[in-house]
Each structure stands twice: as structure tokens, then as C-alpha cells.
Amino acid sequence: MTAIFERELYPYKRHADQDAAAPVRRKVVIVGAGPVGLAAAIDLGRQGVEVVVLDDNDKVSFGSRAICFAKRPLEILDRLGCGQEMVDKGVIWNKGKVFFGDRKVYEFDLLPETGHRRPAFINLQQYYFEDFLVARARELEAGGAPLGLRGKNRVAEVVDKGDHVALTVETPEGPYQLEADWLIACDGAGSPIRSMMGLDFVGRVFEDNFLIADVVMEADFPTERWFWFDPPFNKGQSALLHKQPDGVWRIDLQLGWDIDKDEEKKPEKVIPRLKAMLGEDVKFELEWVSIYTFQCRRMEKFRHGHVIFAGDSAHQVSPFGARGANSGVQDTDNLGWKLRAVIEGIAPEALLDSYDVERVHGADENILNSSRSTDFITPKSDMSRIFRDAVLDLSEHYEFARPLVNSGRLSVPCVYDGSPLNSADALHGPARTRPGAPCPDAPLEGGYLLDRLGDRFVLLAIDAEVPEDGFEEAGVTVEVLRLSAADDVTGELRRRYLGDEACAVYLVRPDQHVAARRAGWNERFMRSALRRALALGGDEA
């Protein structure tokens, strides 16, 4: 058992705010120091926005929980300053096997696209992720960033005051009052903030239970994702085996709906199941066992005045596809620059409504994908099971059926098609870099594109003439990243950003999504695009 669970990472310390005569007003208060709350805090803190994180605990979460982190969140973490730690510690995997009944039906290799700094996925226990985030937050705090982390601070009451939020916070030394210009609720699927505000959280409940176990073993299983449909050791259900760092393996066993949870969690019940799965002679130690059920649902709106919901508090999906923590980190990526722009008076509050539009779109895509996976893994009718089994039987013999096998469609970032921040596409370029799309990485001479884009509004000019100093509009200075064929060491920049066009100018948002693109420089077009991307209402160029 690793001691990481036991360590008090952000122990309770009395803060001056608790002794203030009148409630102290903070710019941003984040509730919840899980992956999403910490990512949001780091993003804001490093940009100089005052942020306080309140958490009712003081440790990382217990057990592996979210274990699969996709490329886009890793790229976001690069921006936050802890992507490298994640990748260094994580397990990179591309291969997998699918079993049906007592036989292997096929193997796969995801063959990830090359030319990206970060891998398609890594496996890493959530507690490591949280540990890296806390360390990064502490580092920023030590460097003078206005970021505070308060352990054992539980929000007991939240009152929406229109232009701010009033909080009652419980601590081991009693309650205190705190005010926030903006509150970000990252307090998980059971969000107490959401309940206190009486807000909806509707969707589809899946009547199923999963046993998840972290098992430490010295085994020569390869670094692959193994998924079983209806295996002999778990008849009529499914199972997943996935490798994590430190010789820890993650095992998910579907149990069905009508079970006794406490009974199923007992080692005398779990160990025989695992032996049947791993083989009688494999030595292992049980590190953590939990049983979970899940739902696919979201709030109707993520923004409620000055209270904004991010991560599981706003949307919940099935675990298949690793779309929970990954999408939560993407929420914060979308929110950070917008909230800063609003706080600094550069953009109107309406910019935050685009957080709603864009991330609701993302949540719907995740819910759709994860519901479909669940329907495949757990057929809901006789005919659904007949087709599922037919797909699996065919997949053993014919390649055509393999794309129909759905044991989770792994998280990819969504394109914000139809976002009010997008300008009309003015380039006959590749669809993957259309307005609203996340910028794909590309190798450059001596580095990678995304690192060069950074987290600012930037004009990406590829073989195009643009004013050297960029331009200034609405108080925002848009700098220039000028690239040419000579920088494009692999041709990927051309393939991903130009297609058949000779040159292009992209306006890229601070979250590295495309706001606008055009075949050449046009000042009026780009000024308007910038205003639109800040919800200032761009006129048609």
C-alpha cells in the first residue's frame, strides 16, 4: 500500500480570513481540490487571478479512480506546468485484446498518429495526478501566485447575492464567512453546492454495479488493455484489466444490478473472483476495492450567475472511454481564460455563457459516447444482446466487425462547432482545424507547435504575411507566431493546417482552440474575429 493516501497534503491551517471582522471578499473561490478544482486553481493562479480552493478533506483521493488520461488533457497540463511529471510516471499503452466467452476474439493496436508531443493516452492513478497538481499549486504559491489551498474547509452554506456569492465555511475551529466574486463548484458528482442551490441534475441511470480493484502483482501481463465480454470467471458480465504504474493493475468487474454491495466488497468474496480471472498461481495483493454505479447526466446549464460548475458536478458519464476527469480538465481549460478576461474587464460576462454552450456541447458528446458503450457492454434487451454477440462472433473472423465492438470510445476533445465565439471559416483548409477545433500539435524545428502557441490569443501565420507586431484590439495584444515550410520538419503542419492551401492565418484562443482562419491576412476580419471570440460582438468582415 503506497503511503500517498495517508499524507496530509494540505492540512488545515487557520487563515486570517477566519478572524476578519467582516467577511473577506475573494475574486475566485473554488470548491473541491480534486483534479478539476486543482487544475482550475493552477490555471487562474498562474495568470495572476486571486483564487482560494476550499476542500473538506486534506489528502489525495483514495484508490486509483480515474486512471486513463488522454492527449488533450496532457497538453493542457503542459500549459499548467505538470504534463511532464504525468507522462514520466504514467504507463503508455496502445495495444489491447478483446475476449468473448472463453476465447480471444481479436487484438488491436491503436497506432496513434505521430507528430504529437504527447501520447494518445497514459494510465496513471488519480492520486498521482492530484499529488502533481498539489505540488504545482504549492510551487506557484511559493513563487508569489495569489493561490491558496485550504484543507478541512467545508462549505456549509452558499447564498447567491447576484454579483457575488456568500459562503459559510466549516473548519475544525468553527465556521467563518467568506465572499467570492466568482464561485467554481468542482465538488464532484454528488456536488453539495448543486444541492444547496437546488439545481437539477437529470439524465439516465444505468442499473448496474462495478467492482473496481487495484491489485499489486508481479505478473508478466503485457502493457495492454484487456476487455472481456461474458468471461467464464464473470458469467454474463464484463471485465477489464489495465496496467498502472508501480506494478498496480486495475481490474473492473461488472456485477449486475441486484447485489449486496457490502458482501461483494469483502476480500473473501473478491479474491476468488480475481483468482479465477488471473489464474490460481498468480500472486497478488489487493490494494483497494470499491463498488460503483454510474449515471449519464448533466445539469441543464453549467453557469448560474456567479456560480459556475465544472467537472463531475456539472456532468457525469459512465467510466467507459475515460471521459470523466479528462472532460473536467477540459472544462477548466475553457473556463480559465474567459473568467480572467471577465474579471479584468476585457470581456463582458456574456463570454461566460459561451463556457456553457461549449462545454454543454462537450458533455453531450461524452454522454452520447459513454451511453453507447454502456449499451454495448450491457445489452438492455434480448435483441440488443443478440446483435452484440453477433458483432463479437463476427469480429473473431472478420475485420469489418471490429469497429462495431464498443468497450469504450476513448476520450478525444470535441470541436466547438456552432459556438458563438467562432468566425465563419475563410480557408479551404483541413476540417480538423476548422473554427472551434482544438489545435492539433505538430513537430517544429526544435520543439512542438502547441508549446509555441502557449495560452494567449495568437495569430498563427503559416507562409503568410502578417504585421510583425500583431495587433491590439479591445485591450488585448495579439502576438504573432510566424511559421514557414522551413519550420515544418515533418510536413505535419502543412497537412494539419494548410491542406491544399498555400498559406493561412489562424487566430487561436488561449485554450488553443481555433477562433478564426483565413487564406491570408485581413485586418478587419481578424479584429472582428477577436471581438467575437471575446463576446464583444464582431461585425461581419
Binding site: 435483441m383 443478440i386 446483435f387 454477440d389 458483432v391 462472433d393 463476427l394 466487425a401
Partner: protein, 65 residues
């Protein structure tokens, strides 16, 4: 785009029908259901085009009235 063919298109209709029945001969209901499902998936892959597939599903539901 090609339209979904809903006029006679199988050159040897009686032979196909006989083959279909023969494939099911001696099978239990469950085995037959499984065979049908596999056959639908094989044929769907041959059709390929998403619009054609949607049109085929709609046609199989029969027109109202």
C-alpha cells in the same frame, strides 16, 4: 447518391430464398436469431453508406397505413 433499391434486384430470387431457409435449417430459435443478426451485419457492411443504411432501416419498418 444512389437510391436504396426497392424494386426487384435479386436475379435469382427463388434460389436466394431457398438458400436463406436452408441456412436456418436445424437451428434452434436462438441460433437462428444469431445467424440473422450476423447476416444483417455482413450485409450492412457491404452496403456501407450511412444514408443507405438509414434508408434500409426505415424501409424495413414498412410504410404506414
Amino acid at each position: 447518391m444512389t437510391e436504396l433499391v426497392l424494386t426487384p434486384n435479386i436475379g435469382t430470387a427463388d434460389d436466394f430464398y431457398a438458400d436463406l431457409l436452408e441456412a436456418h435449417e436445424g437451428l434452434s430459435k436462438a441460433e437462428s436469431d444469431a445467424l440473422n443478426a450476423r447476416l444483417i451485419l455482413v450485409l450492412a457492411n457491404q452496403l456501407g453508406d450511412p444514408q443507405m443504411l438509414r434508408a434500409a432501416i426505415a424501409a424495413a419498418k414498412l410504410p404506414r397505413g
